[in-house]
Symmetry: D2
Subunit: 274 residues, 4 copies
């Protein structure tokens, strides 16, 4: 089976679980944390509209990406530094915590003081130089699994961060690459309880990138909750059809609000709190 | 995306769903049907001990395999025809319905009058000659997805059965082959809602073969329920450590009873009935 | 690494290699055997036209399929028993040896006395009941690797045949299912030398099904020769654009003749004979 | 099939092929270029011993890695900047051209003036920020395919480099991640002619990382030549058993010299020059 789980991420006992704190939100330990927002910040209006929906639904952390790694160099690459005032405006109006992806040391330096939580995406999971840099901060970090990573490779990436000094790591399953074509990736739902057998770190799920279709994002989110995940990182857009990226997998505001209601009912039956 | 969905299995409208009846059990339509039993029938004692647990837990259909397709020709291949009196004894004592796998026309002829439900396993999904034969019966059939089948290949296999005359087909997701190693296969949990977008046939999940580890069978079963599956096909053994096959993924009686309790609570929160 | 190699297929020493005889053709041992013909026999004319090209190119064995396993039940399924007189006509005119796929015991009984070599295809590799039946004959057999089989699963399928009494097995790598899309399957070219490290059986390659595009069939065939394969099983059609199946991956007669010339030159440089 | 090939890497006509010049070596156009050396520079002695063998065998470019991306943070990470004098010593004694991997902008700045050819490895292929930086240099670059990249994703990564100004890109197939276990990765040998149908850039193969076993590196190299690759990037170590990384897939000096002899004979039969 899995070859190696590093000493920093390894569980000390069967019931060893730790939480990661981001602002006043405690990730792990019976809570199901929802981090929601657009694939990318596109404008002040788009950001504020989405943030209000996220807040109304009861989520506390806003997905606020300014840099997007895109397969094609001709696709929208994010607003970059120009979006920083938008982040500040979202925070000022809504009080939501902000979470954003970093692709390089330069992004890390730029965003560090403007966001509450960092993300290293699937493409960055094998960028060990970046992981070491993120490990030198103390910011809470969402580390997404590479679409081709085994669990021990995923945990070894987390080990790079922890051994560099940052223990505030939340793991995120987001789908793996397989032969299937109906979904964008194959959500490896059993990776959640599997990771919880190996490490004490919280584990969340990205239902949007695994499904790749808005119609499957709800089922993926409910499966994440049922299987024992500590939360989801989910894409919401005020007008998915007009989104500059990932529109086909973004939930509209009504769909998101409706899903949140379903999740709360399911969580209650499981003794969990959304 | 998916290339082709045959006319026999294709949905006629977005809310088109049909049920499959096995004895007095109706699979689909808001019910979560549990089909449980050992990987293979090993002896009268083993079969009766398991069947009593299955009945006590409230399940109605007993997994009753006499023929096992095994990778190695030197592994236990099932009791074969010698097990038929055991099936009859289980039925006589417990009143459970019986479900069993057929690997060939010879098995089909032998088992047809002794079981209530047939199964074509993952290895048999591409055996189109067998599918045509099963299609000539009217027995309810569980058709498992090949570990390498796309959804349209899976539905095309079902099309072989339906076009041969048998419309009583229940599809079963059981995990696909990917690069991962911690689980035996990768449970493609989103295949369940995806299939329900394409076909009206009921869809169940085999949590045992996808997980390959007893510790993950519970989470897989709960994910199946949450994602919208119509049931599970699950392995239970009175003494997993002594099982002649699949012991590592079989639930013990207490683990199975405990899981059934959890599933009932979760189903209630979803307006479903186990 | 690989878990298990059965006692019947396992090499006895590092340089243990055996040949399989089909008529006057010895497969293995420094020869590169070309088995060529259409995906399926479609008519007397098509069969004879192709067979003449195959003979002219110097190949000795004719691919002569009457039964085709097709993903869709609505695709051409082969001529079936009606094609037997065509096989006899090809043999009478050209003297070529005949090779054909069997999908069931019924096919085996029908074809046994009309062909010189049997084939169990990729979909049949996990049909152990069929393998046992083929193992009760003494016909040379091409056993193709399932698109999802590891090497030990492939060798275990061969073990089923050998332990049933038939030692005349030739293994055939034909591409595996992966995430790639440009080719129909991913030709696992290193499976050839890998298998030769594990077993003494001859190993050939199907360049047509792995490539799925005529333009890549030549490179695949040359790679097979260079990597140490004992031959190829290749699709040739007198008019690929009009083929009832697999036209896009079939070579035209001029392309096949040209490839054979290239293979002969390459083989000579390697001390092999086509 | 493949979705998108960027305008910078796309072929202008069926026979459009370009070469990439590194020092006095022209990669492409009928030559089979061998780039050889240890997985990582470990010491002056190790580097010089290997470089002498590489030169003796007739190769012109030395694989000279100072930075190693390793799955585990506890594995040897390369000599780093301390190895630069070793590179200079190799160049001074042997006159070989030097090729090395960069993992970050910092590495790029450090190595730029000390090597003749840069490499972005499989893990770096999705690090678009790094690709843009490498694109701002004019150094010849080997861009390796990510183990999970489709061909259009691979070509899109190359597009990032070319659109940033650097047209001296050589693509390198190095094996993809699949379900197989005998080899370290699955060498996607048909990616070579497939890429040559889509782009004019030279394409080489890394036989070492795909095979993962020294015994299969020779067959992989011969397959690369036969399939039409423009060269190989291959690992050689004076004492594989004592290597600090990748010893199991490194060729010993005698094995490498013997393989080079075989490759020269095969190339001659194909009208190519090693």
């Amino acid at each position: 089976m899995e070859d190696f789980v590093g000493p920093q991420v390894r569980k000390q006992s069967a019931d060893h679980h730790e939480t990661v704190r981001c602002g006043d939100v405690e990730i792990g330990d019976g809570r199901f944390t929802v981090i929601a927002g657009p694939c990318a910040i596109e404008s002040l209006d788009q950001a504020l509209l989405t943030a209000r929906v996220v807040k109304e639904a009861g989520a506390k952390i806003f997905r606020a990406c300014l840099f997007k790694p895109r397969t094609s160099p001709y696709s929208f690459q994010g607003m970059g530094a120009d979006g920083i005032p938008i982040l500040e405006a979202v925070r000022a109006e809504t009080g939501l915590l902000l979470e954003a992806e970093v692709l390089s040391l330069a992004h890390l330096e730029l965003l560090h003081d403007h966001v509450d939580m960092l993300r290293v995406g699937a493409r960055g999971m094998r960028n060990y130089e970046l992981l070491k840099e993120v490990g030198r901060t103390r910011k809470p970090l969402i580390l997404k699994r590479s679409m081709s990573a085994t669990l021990d490779e995923f945990l070894s990436a987390a080990e790079y961060v922890l051994m560099s000094g940052n223990r505030n790591v939340v793991l995120c399953e987001r789908g793996i690459r397989t032969f299937t074509t109906y979904t964008r990736n194959t959500l490896d739902i059993l990776a959640v309880p599997a990771l919880k057998e190996l490490t004490y770190l919280p584990v969340i799920v990205d239902p949007s990138h695994s499904a790749g279709r808005a119609s499957l994002v709800g089922p993926a989110s409910k499966a994440a909750l049922a299987v024992g995940a500590d939360g989801i990182l989910i894409e919401v857009h005020p007008n998915p059809a007009a989104a500059l990226s990932d529109g086909e997998q973004s939930l509209s505001p009504p769909a998101f609000l409706s899903l949140m209601t379903e999740l709360k009912a399911l969580a209650a039956a499981m003794g969990k709190e959304v």
